[in-house]
Symmetry: D2
Subunit: 308 residues, 4 copies
Amino acid sequence: MNAAVRAAVRAAVYHGAEPWAIRSGYAGLLEGRIDPLTPRDVSNIIQRGGTILGTSRSKEFATDEGRAKAARILKDQGIDSLVIIGGNGSFRGAAALASEYDFKIAGIPGTIDNDIGGTHLTLGFDTAVNVAVDAIDRLRDTAASLDRIFVVEVMGRDCGALAVASAIAGGAEDFLIPEEDFDTEHLKNTVRVAAERGKKSMIIVVAEGDQSGGAHAVANLVRQAVDGDVRETVLGHVQRGGTPTAFDRILGSRMGVKAIAELAAGNSGFMVGFARGGPVETCALECSWQEPLPLDPELMRLREILAL
Amino acid sequence: MNAAVRAAVRAAVYHGAEPWAIRSGYAGLLEGRIDPLTPRDVSNIIQRGGTILGTSRSKEFATDEGRAKAARILKDQGIDSLVIIGGNGSFRGAAALASEYDFKIAGIPGTIDNDIGGTHLTLGFDTAVNVAVDAIDRLRDTAASLDRIFVVEVMGRDCGALAVASAIAGGAEDFLIPEEDFDTEHLKNTVRVAAERGKKSMIIVVAEGDQSGGAHAVANLVRQAVDGDVRETVLGHVQRGGTPTAFDRILGSRMGVKAIAELAAGNSGFMVGFARGGPVETCALECSWQEPLPLDPELMRLREILAL
Amino acid sequence: MNAAVRAAVRAAVYHGAEPWAIRSGYAGLLEGRIDPLTPRDVSNIIQRGGTILGTSRSKEFATDEGRAKAARILKDQGIDSLVIIGGNGSFRGAAALASEYDFKIAGIPGTIDNDIGGTHLTLGFDTAVNVAVDAIDRLRDTAASLDRIFVVEVMGRDCGALAVASAIAGGAEDFLIPEEDFDTEHLKNTVRVAAERGKKSMIIVVAEGDQSGGAHAVANLVRQAVDGDVRETVLGHVQRGGTPTAFDRILGSRMGVKAIAELAAGNSGFMVGFARGGPVETCALECSWQEPLPLDPELMRLREILAL
Amino acid sequence: MNAAVRAAVRAAVYHGAEPWAIRSGYAGLLEGRIDPLTPRDVSNIIQRGGTILGTSRSKEFATDEGRAKAARILKDQGIDSLVIIGGNGSFRGAAALASEYDFKIAGIPGTIDNDIGGTHLTLGFDTAVNVAVDAIDRLRDTAASLDRIFVVEVMGRDCGALAVASAIAGGAEDFLIPEEDFDTEHLKNTVRVAAERGKKSMIIVVAEGDQSGGAHAVANLVRQAVDGDVRETVLGHVQRGGTPTAFDRILGSRMGVKAIAELAAGNSGFMVGFARGGPVETCALECSWQEPLPLDPELMRLREILAL
C-alpha cells in the first residue's frame, strides 16, 4: 500500500494539487488527524510492509452524524478529493460521503483476499501469495522428510483466489475453496489416489471460508481416508504485512498514479482495476525472433512522476 | 523453469504420452543423455532455482550433421515431440530440426531479460525483478544512511524490461535502457534537479546494454553533475537462480500444461505466451461490491493434471 | 541438517571410512533402507531445508527385538559406527544399541527447540529463530498499521530459548516461557504499563509449553487488562524447514566434521556441542586497533575436508 | 545497527540518563545536528537495515579545531557521554575527543568485515554472511544447471572472515583470503583435482583484499587450469544493508545495553565485544538428557530494559 501512497502523493504534486494524509482511516479523519504530505515524506517507504498512514475501523463514520462531521473536517481543511485504499466497506463509506457532501473520490482495491469485484487483482495479493508459498515450501521440507500430510489454511472468507494461487505455486496436491461445493468423498478419494500413486507426503490448501470448515475439519477427514501422519496449520495473521513484492510495488505505483490522473481529469466515483491477461495463448514460434513487443508505455510515463 | 518441467511431465502423462528428459540441452541430446521422467521424479522441485534438467550451448547442434545425429538419437528412442524451454536461439535450432526431420515442437519462453517477441512475459522474469529489487532495497539502506548515489547495472542486453520494472519497484530515481537514445545532458539534469529538490540519496538503474555504456560510465557522468558520493554496482550473475516467485511458478505451470495440451491436439511449431492485461483501467466504484469475477477457469483445470 | 550430513560424509571419506545413508531413521533402518553415500551424492544440498535422509519415529526400535534386528542389519552391511542427528530420544535409542551390540556412536544435537543438555546451541535453532522473527516482523507491520496487540505462540514445550530469542530479535514487548512461573498479574501489569507509555501496538511471545496455556489463554488475559484489538497467532509447523541460515550451515558443517574426527580417533558415546561465548564483555578501546584476532583455526581446517 | 541504537536509548532511560541522537556521524555533530531520542522514537526500527541516525566521514573532526568545535557543541547541549557505533577510525576519533575534552565514551564494533580487534564478532557480520550466502546459493543454481565455475568476490580488505564464513556456508570449493599467502599453483591444483573428482560446477570465494588481486585475476587463473565455463562476479555494495538477522539484532541489543550499563557504572574508554565460544567440543552422550543449561541470564535481564 505504501507504493500507492507514494505514487498518489507524487502524482498529486505533478498535477498541481496539494496532498494531505489522513491518519488511521475514517477513525483518524473524525479525530482530525490530517497533515500535509510532501514527496519527501514518502521517500524510502516503497519497500515497507503495512501502511505509513495507519488504518482502522470506525462505527461512527457509518452514521449520518459521523459523515457530517467528517465532511466538515475535510472542508475546513480545504480538501475536495479523496483517494481510498481498501476494500468494499471502505468504498461504500466513501461513496456515501461523496454523494452526500459532494467530494470527488477514487478507490484503490487493497485486500489480500483478492475479493473485490471489477478488478482481476487487488493490491497486496501477490505479496500474500508469496508469503503463503514461502510457508508451504517450509512445510513441504518437513512433509518430505517425515512423510507427512499437511493441511494448510490460508485467508479467504468468500474468495478462494489466495488458496488457488498458493496451492498451485506451492505444488500442493489439492485445494478447497468457498466457490466450490465441498464433497467429502471427493476429498477422501483424492488423497487415497495420491497415496496409491506413491505420494508419501502431501499438502492440501484450504481457504478459511471453505464449506469444509477449515484445516481442522479437513485434517480429520484425511485421517479417515489414509493411514499417515496428518497435521494441520493455520497461517493466520502472518499472511499480512512484510516487504511487498516487486509486482505489488509496481501495481501500487500504477494504481496510485492512475487514480490521481483520473481525479485530475475531473472524474470521480471510480475504482482503478487490473484486467488479467486472459488465458495462456499461443503464437507461431517465428514470433519469438521478431522484435520484442514495445515496453508498456504507461510504465514509461510513470518515471517522471514518480521521481518527483 | 522447474515448474514448467513438472507441469509438462504431469500433463504428458495426463494426455497418455510418455515423457523423457533430455539432460543438459542440445549438447546432452547429442551425447544421448536421455532418460524417462515420471510424475514422481518431478516431485518437490517447484521451489528450486535453476533447472533439474541442466542446460548448455552446443555448436554441433547448429550444424546439419549435428541435427542429423540428434534426430537419429531421438527417433531411436521413439521420441516424436519436443518441448523446448529457452530463448530465441534454442527455438531456432528446434525449428530447424522440426522442419528437417518432422518432429513436433513447442517452445516455452524462458529468459530473465523478457526479450522474446510474441509474449508479454517470459518465465523467470518476475523472479529476476524481485532479486534485483531486493538488491536495490539493500543499496537504498546504505544510500539513505550515507547520503550516497548508487548506479546499479542490471541485466538486459537489448531489452530494458528488467531495468524498468526493477527501477519502478525499487523506487529508483531514473533508469537508462537500450530502447531509448542516451542523452548525457538529460541524465545530468535529472540528478541535478533531484538534488535541488532535497534528495540526498539516489538510485539510478542502467540496463547492461544501454548506450551509455553501463554503470561505470554513468557513475562518472553523475559525478560531473552533482557533488556527492557516487558508487556503482553491477548485479551480474546473481540475478539468475534462486527460489522462484509464486508468479513464475504459476506461469511455468500454465505454460507447461498448455504446451503439452497443444501438442496433444496435434499442433506444432508454436510458443506459449502471455498477454499482459493492458493498462490500468477504471470501472465505476459500484463494480467493487458486485460479486468478484470468477476464478480463472484455466487455473482450476490445472489442478487435476498437476496433482498426478 | 543437510550441512551436517554433507560434512560427515566428506569427513568420513577424508578419514578413509566408507559412509552409508540410513533412510528415514530407525524405522528405515529396520526396513533395511541403507545405501552408500559418496561425496558427490551430498553436492548441492547444503542450502536445502529438511533432510535428504528422511526421518521417522519407530516403536519397534524401542524394543529389544527391534534393536537386535537393527544390529543384525547393520553388521550384515559391515557398518560399525553411527552418527545420529536428532534429539534426546534418538540418542537414548542409539546408546542402548551401542551398549548392547558394541557399535561406536556419535550424536549431533538437532532440534529447533534448543532443548538438549550439554550444548548451548542445537542445529536448526538459528534458522528457527530467524523464521519466527520474520513472522513477527510481518505481524508488527500489521500491528503498527492497525494499533493492534498480537500474542504469538512459538515452539518450545519445555524450553523457552526460541521464545526468548525471537522475542528479543523481534522487538517484542514481553515473552512467557516454561522456565518461569506464570504470573497473571505481572502480565496484565506489563501491558497496562506499556499502554500508558503510549504503546498502541504490542507483541507478546509465548512458548507453547508455557504455564499460561499458550496464545489463546494469554490473549484473553490481555483483553482483560487493556482496551484494544488483541489477536493471537500460533506459528506452528512453519517454524520447521526452510533454507538454513549461514550460521546453521557452518554449525552443521563443524559438528559433522567433529563427530567423524572423534569417531576416527576411537572415541564413542559422545555428543558434539557448542559452548556459548558467555556474556558480552568489554575490552579497552585500544584493543580495537590492534590486529584482529586470528581466524578460527578449526574453520580453516574444514576447507580441505569439505571440498572433497 | 538500529537494534543497538534502540537498546542504547532504552537502556539510557532505564539508567536515568537522557539520550540524544547525533545525526550523520561526526560531520553531523559538527553541524549541530543533535536532537533528543525517546524510547518511542526507536519503536519499530529493529528490523530495518542501515541506521536511522545516518553516518558519514568527516575530515574536519580529524583536526584539533574540529574536535574543539565538537566538544563545544556537545557541552553546550549538556552531553557528557558518547556511544560510538563503527570501526577503528571512528573509535580513534572518539578516543582523541575523550582524552582532550573529558568525555566518557563507549564503542560498539559495527563493520561487516569483522575486522576489529578485541572482539570475535562485529555487529552486522552475521547479516552480511547471510546476504553473501544467499547470492552464492543463486550462483550455485546457475552453476549446477550450466556446469559452470564461479569466482565470487566478497568484502574484506584486510580480513577474510566474511570470505571464510560465506564460503563454508555457501558450500564453496575454496576461498582465498588476505591472511594467507596466495599460491597460484595451489589454486590451479585445487580446481584440477576437483574437476578430476567429477565436479562440473564449482564456486570459489575471494576476499576483495586477497593478494591474488580479486575475482577477475582468479578467474583467469582458473581458466588456465581447467577447461570450463568460468565466470566472475563481484558482490559489491549489496552486501551492506538489508533486514538484519535475528543474531545481529540480539547482538546489537546486547551490545547497546552493555555499553550503557558500563557507562552508567562509571567506566569509559572501552569497546563491548563478543568472545567466540571456542571450538566445537564434545561431552558424554548422557549429558544430552540432563536438564538443558539455564537460559542466558543476561538475555533475561534485557527484557525489562528493552520493553521501556
